[in-house]
């Protein structure tokens, strides 16, 4: 007795075009490429900083230019997309129970957004942006 085996049709390279939610998932996946590239830039920056003032100034100068601006815009979009989706997910990832009920999800995500805003403004202030 033989039955037809189950063949799950799932094209390995194009599956995410089937549904808008898959596309949203993949668009979040893609942000990791730009964030990883930016992390490499951070390590290079640390190297330049350890090599002295001239190397650091050269690094800052090398950051200027149209290519760098395009890369930064992509990395900035990726970083913001990662951050917002991450904070939106916190209410599902770590629900807080008080007594019988759960703390509303909006409060958990909102607290993360508030902390993010305060931290970002503090870092911009410490870096002398304003």
């Amino acid at each position: 007795m033989s039955r037809k085996p189950l063949v799950r049709e799932c094209p390995p390279t194009t599956w995410y075009f089937r549904q808008p939610r898959y596309l949203r998932y993949m668009s979040r996946e893609i942000t990791s490429i730009f964030i990883a590239a930016y992390c490499v830039l951070l390590v290079v920056g640390l190297q330049r900083l350890s090599q002295g003032p001239a190397a650091w100034e050269g690094f800052l100068l090398a950051l200027r230019g149209p290519d760098s601006i395009v890369f930064h815009l992509l990395a900035l979009t990726a970083a913001f997309y990662h951050a917002t989706t991450w904070f939106n997910a916190t209410q599902k990832a770590m629900p807080i129970q008080i007594g019988e009920g759960f703390v509303p999800g909006n409060i958990i995500s909102g607290a993360h957004y508030a902390a993010w805003a305060v931290l970002s403004v503090a870092i911009l202030f410490l870096a002398g942006v304003f």
Binding site: M26, S32, I35, A36, V43, L49, S50, H72, A79
Partner: protein, 113 residues
Amino acid sequence: MAKSHKPVVWFPFAAGGTVIAFFIPVIVLLTFLAALGHVPAGLGYESMHAFARSGLGKLIIFGVVALSLWSSAHRLRCTCYDFGLRADTLVATVLYVAAIIGSIAAALFLLRI
């Protein structure tokens, strides 16, 4: 008892995802200003060097860089798989080794400052 190595991979991934969410956007914004030619005063050599010289500064920089690297490596691994690159063991090895090398390099650079 069967042991899983997943927590070892997962803890730095989750910590890295949080660190990226909180810190990377504003750091990108700072170097974006430098890319536009408006280098913020805090990105000058004196202040960056002073920050990286302090113990707390070293710890913060290393924490942000190493956790972000590890989290990115893990996410890139998943991204490769989702785009149809199914040689997962090879991809995982290459990316995790790269993240570890990057973290060690960051630590060595920081110790030299």
